[in-house]
């Protein structure tokens, strides 16, 4: 079974600064996807970024980028130029290519952006 571990229960950052959220996972699979989801206090889960394991290039989406280290099974999220609206719970998630949509989530990291 796959496991996803987020070792930082809470993080905080000043507005406009950069913060990195950590995620490690355990799997014997070679074909899989990794995701970061954001869940603001309103509870609606939103996809932030997605990485396909066979792609060596790290995914980026505007201010959000990942550092994907396949051998180390590490998948960290970097948020640049943090904004107050980035305050949320962030979940790392894993999906086997053959699991037909089954996501395995980590425990989450609460990120607070301070003005």
């Amino acid at each position: 079974a796959q496991t996803v571990t987020q070792s930082q229960p809470e993080m905080s950052v000043q507005e406009a600064e950069t913060v990195t959220l950590s995620c490690t996972y355990d799997t014997s699979e070679s074909n899989y996807y990794l995701f970061w989801y954001k869940q603001p206090p309103s509870r609606q889960m939103i996809l932030v970024i997605r990485q396909e394991a066979y792609k060596q290039q790290n995914a980026t989406e505007n201010r959000f980028s990942v550092n994907f280290q396949k051998a180390a099974k590490s998948f960290s999220l970097k948020i640049s130029d943090s904004q107050l609206g980035d305050t949320a719970m962030y979940f790392c998630a894993f999906m086997k290519r053959t699991s037909y949509g089954k996501l395995t989530f980590g425990q989450g990291t609460i990120l607070t952006v301070h003005p």
Binding site: V4, R43, Q44, F91, Y100, G101, K102, L103, G106, G108
Partner: protein
């Protein structure tokens, strides 16, 4: 484009009572998911539908939980009877198919007293 709609947003019931949650996925999305999210934790998949067929319900506690997706569109998740430990947020998500992005609804927060 309307997102995933869930109702009710909040529900408070006494233990041993039945409860039902409703989900309307994004139009055209064939795959529908129900997740359970306990406080301070990540969601856990309960059941997944491809159109009207439940293709993965291995995590659904079938002694008290049931789900249906009539005509492959709306879905209902039911608990009967509810227990104190069922207090959680129940999330619905949908996607075009199992390989594409899952869009989540706002969830239903259930409190069992």
């Amino acid at each position: 484009e309307a997102g995933v709609v869930q109702s009710p947003r909040y529900k408070i019931i006494e233990k041993k009572q039945p409860v039902a949650f409703w989900c309307n996925p994004i139009s055209g999305h064939n795959t529908l998911y129900w997740y359970l999210q306990n406080l301070g934790q990540g969601p856990e998949l309960l059941i997944r539908y491809e159109n009207e067929e439940a293709v993965d319900d291995s995590q659904l506690p079938k002694d008290r939980f049931s789900a249906e997706r009539l005509k492959g569109v709306d879905s209902t998740l039911k608990i009967q009877p509810a227990e104190l430990g069922d207090s959680a947020v129940y999330l619905c998500a949908s996607s075009l198919d199992f390989s594409t992005e899952q869009y989540f609804g706002p969830g239903t927060r259930l409190t069992v007293t």
